[in-house]
């Protein structure tokens, strides 16, 4: 018996050894690590940047970056606009090549010449601007970069292709019809397809650049749950966001970029939001909004009564008085921007009535609005606001030069004077009025658009997401500016998805839900909780149960 026990021991050791040996040839899914190395993995960095630098046209965008990301880690990357986050992402995803330094990927120095190289190596990126094909189906959009299922004579097997896409979407708990054309999806659905596409790439490093911009709370929750699952499976994640609450909630470690330099990295647990903001800005910043609520306002400058446009908004009634800042909150897609554009004359109303300065208002185009003293600052400044290769001076003076013209000609001296005054009073940081506006940072671009309009002294100003993608410093300046406008007796309608901002800046808050104004909040009712309730149409219900 004893002999047989030793025998058995020997055999079992042999068996175990061969099992481990065999294991070492099997790829563990989702990590790509060979089995044995998976068991005895020493935490070596998956990606290591050593003294990486990059400059554009003489301007140093990244200075000697040292950064490591380990497998199974979520690293948050934060920084103001123009701090170099996009450049860093572009280098990692192979869009740009670095000027100097070493990128070590799985302990081997690599050089990505194209996004294809990076993808092949296992780095998948979700860019801020979604890159998709509108007239191709969802399935084709998801799988275009990969081999497709074929049948005889290399013909595409469409059914299998759609089944594969459905499987991948289902893996991310999504059910989007894969035969739909991509441009027929809602913006949240588009974002979700983008995420699902990148996640299904079996990447070892996943880079997400502001992925939650058009997602609702529950969709964000689902994304985060999935990211956590990936992390446990050993995927490294680089998460870039302006929303610091997300960074705190999700990440293990935070890296802060400022002016192209990596100023700090620390575990998220050791940091709070204030410290992050301090590191980003380089100075302490109080989150105090400059606006003091006033009680007395002028006469109503803009009034809407039961304004309706099919498919966009319905039965909207409100008024904005002189000197008043009215906030317009709500989820993306609730119809806020559409409402603003209708007031501005870009869309027509189906029914209802608008009044401007007490007179009936039915603008035929935006030109009429501008000349009547109503301006709208659009949400996407690059697409809707600016011609990127035009000069800063031209971009500003287009807003008011019609006031200066004599016989259609713009007097050069007067124009230059006004442009320079605007550059100064709005503190737009440029090398001069001739600089191309596309080379400015986001905040300065936004201030350029503000300067364009505000020099006309309009009576009514509609601001759509005025501080989206704008760095913290410029944000404060824009807030002070909005307050000043109201102080001068103008009416301001402020549309924003940034809750602290819209709460801190407005005298009164309208909350839109699915195309209509669900609630008006005043005074002490103006809290984040109430806005969130109202934006999902639950405010009345919740208040009803309270009583």
């Amino acid at each position: 018996m004893t002999r047989s026990f030793g025998h058995q021991l020997q055999r079992s050791i042999l068996f175990l050894a061969s099992a481990i040996f065999l294991c070492s040839f099997r790829k563990i899914p989702s990590t790509g690590l060979r089995g044995l190395r998976y068991f005895c993995a020493v935490p070596v960095p998956l990606l290591k940047l050593d003294a990486v630098e990059k400059s554009f046209a003489g301007v140093q965008a990244l200075k000697l970056i040292q950064l490591e990301i380990a497998a199974g880690e979520i690293l948050g990357l934060i920084g103001e606009n123009g701090a170099g986050k996009s450049t860093l992402i572009n280098i990692l995803s192979g869009v740009h090549a670095p000027d100097g330094g070493v990128i070590a990927w799985q302990q081997q120095s690599v050089k990505f010449n194209s996004p294809h190289d990076a993808l092949a190596a296992g780095i998948a990126t979700i860019h801020q601007e979604l890159a998709f094909f509108g007239h191709l189906s969802v399935a084709e959009n998801m799988l275009l970069g990969e081999p497709w299922p074929r049948r005889c004579w290399r013909g595409v097997n469409w059914n299998q292709l759609h089944a594969e896409a459905e499987r991948r979407l289902a893996h991310f708990e999504l059910s989007i019809p894969t035969r739909r054309f991509f441009n027929e999806l809602s913006s949240a659905q588009k974002q979700e397809v983008a995420i699902a596409r990148a996640l299904s790439r079996q990447a070892r490093l996943l880079i997400l650049d502001e992925p939650t911009a058009s997602l609702s709370e529950s969709e964000v929750e689902r994304l985060f749950a999935h990211l956590q699952r990936l992390r446990h499976a050993g995927v490294a994640i680089l998460y870039v966001s302006h929303r610091l609450d997300e960074i705190v909630k999700l990440t293990d470690r935070v890296a802060v970029l400022r002016d192209g330099e990596l100023v700090a990295t620390y575990p998220t647990a050791e940091a709070d939001v204030n410290r992050m903001v301090r590191d980003m800005v380089g100075r302490p910043l109080d989150q105090v909004y400059p606006h003091k609520r006033r009680g007395a306002f002028g006469s109503p400058l803009l009034e809407l009564k039961a304004a309706t446009r099919a498919g966009m908004f319905r039965d909207i009634s409100f008024s904005v008085r002189g000197g008043e800042i009215v906030g317009l909150a709500g989820l993306v897609g609730a119809g806020r921007s559409e409402l603003a554009r209708a007031v501005y004359g870009l869309y027509s109303l189906d029914s209802g009535e608008m009044r401007l300065n007490g007179k009936p208002w039915s603008p035929r185009n935006s030109h009429q609005s501008v000349t009547s003293g109503l301006v709208y600052i659009p949400e996407e400044r690059k697409r809707q606001g600016l011609v990127l290769d035009h000069s800063v001076g031209a971009s500003i003076s287009i807003g008011f030069s019609d006031l200066l013209t004599r016989w259609g000609l713009v007097p050069h001296a007067a124009e230059t004077r006004r442009v320079e005054r605007a550059l100064e009073s709005f503190a737009i940081r440029t090398t001069g009025p001739a600089q191309a506006v596309g080379t400015l940072s986001g905040g300065n671009q936004q201030k350029t658009i503000l300067a364009r309009w505000l020099d006309r002294y309009p009576q009514i100003i509609i601001l759509d997401e005025p501080t989206r993608g704008v760095d913290v410093g410029a944000k404060t300046e824009i807030h002070a500016l909005i307050d000043r406008l109201a102080g001068e007796g103008r009416a301001v309608l402020l549309i924003s998805s940034d809750l602290p901002e819209v709460l801190g800046m407005s005298d009164r808050l309208l909350v839109m839900h699915r195309g209509s104004i669900s609630t008006e909040l005043r005074g002490d009712d103006m809290t984040q909780e109430n806005v969130i309730l109202a934006a999902s149409g639950l405010y009345q219900e919740a208040k009803g149960t309270d009583r």
């Binding site: 659009p378 290769d389 030069s401 259609g408």
Partner: protein, 309 residues
Amino acid sequence: MEIAFFTMISGTSFQSAGEFSNYFKSYFGDLLAQSAPVLLLAFGMTLVLMTAGIDLSVGSQVALVACVMASFRSGPTFWWTAVPLGLVFALVIGLVNGVLIARLDIPPIIATLGTMIFYRGLCFVVMGDLEKSPFIDVPGYEWFGKFLGATLVVGVVFVLGALFFQYSRWRREVLMLGGNRVAARYAGIPVTRRLCEVYALMGLLAFFAALCFTARNSSVSASSLTGLELQVIVAVVLGGTRVQGGGGSLVGTFFGVVIIAVMDEGLRGAAVWGDQHLPFKISHLQYLLLGALLVTGVWLNTRMERPAK
């Protein structure tokens, strides 16, 4: 250096500086009168390219206006029948382009491709196979074909136009809508009206071009001026205007036309020499040179822009 250049391309040689200066005068006078239509159209085409559009129908437009004018009776009455009606007609056909592009939102290249065929077809409707020349018997008409008249028309259009253009708000609006149509709408620019104006102006210039052309050539047929649009576009592009819209220069356009015109004249001048020495007609080189110049011009434009980005 320049003398050598002209000698080379014109195939003549000069005995003295005086002879050269005389030759130079007549050469350039002729050159300007010859290329007046292209100059006028290039002016309009620069604006059209600035709006990120293109007008392929210019050749047909000029021919159609000329054909319509040619169907009137000759004599002094021509001045108050054909000329004003031609002017109005030119504005209308320009405006048709504008309406198709701005109001119906047809892509400019398609719309003007269609009107190019359509206007040319109308030429045949008006003229049939005939070649008419009522212009010879109109008193004072040929003045527009001579150096002085052509210079005056071109000069007035260019100088006044350029001055107005340089300092007007209109130009900035056109530039902005060419650079970013959506942003222009948001910036309160009446996009539709501006586009219609640009194409109507093109029609107006087509009228002046028709005036200069008919005064010089004194006869017109339905197939006159085919391929003119290509010369015009090449000239504008050579002058540094980019085809994607949002930028461009009139001075550059002027020099672009001069390059094309000099090339044209040079080849014509060298015909005799070419017949003796070359196995092919030297005028056919024009096709090759035009194509090569176009590509080179655009390539240089993009090369020069790239460092700025």
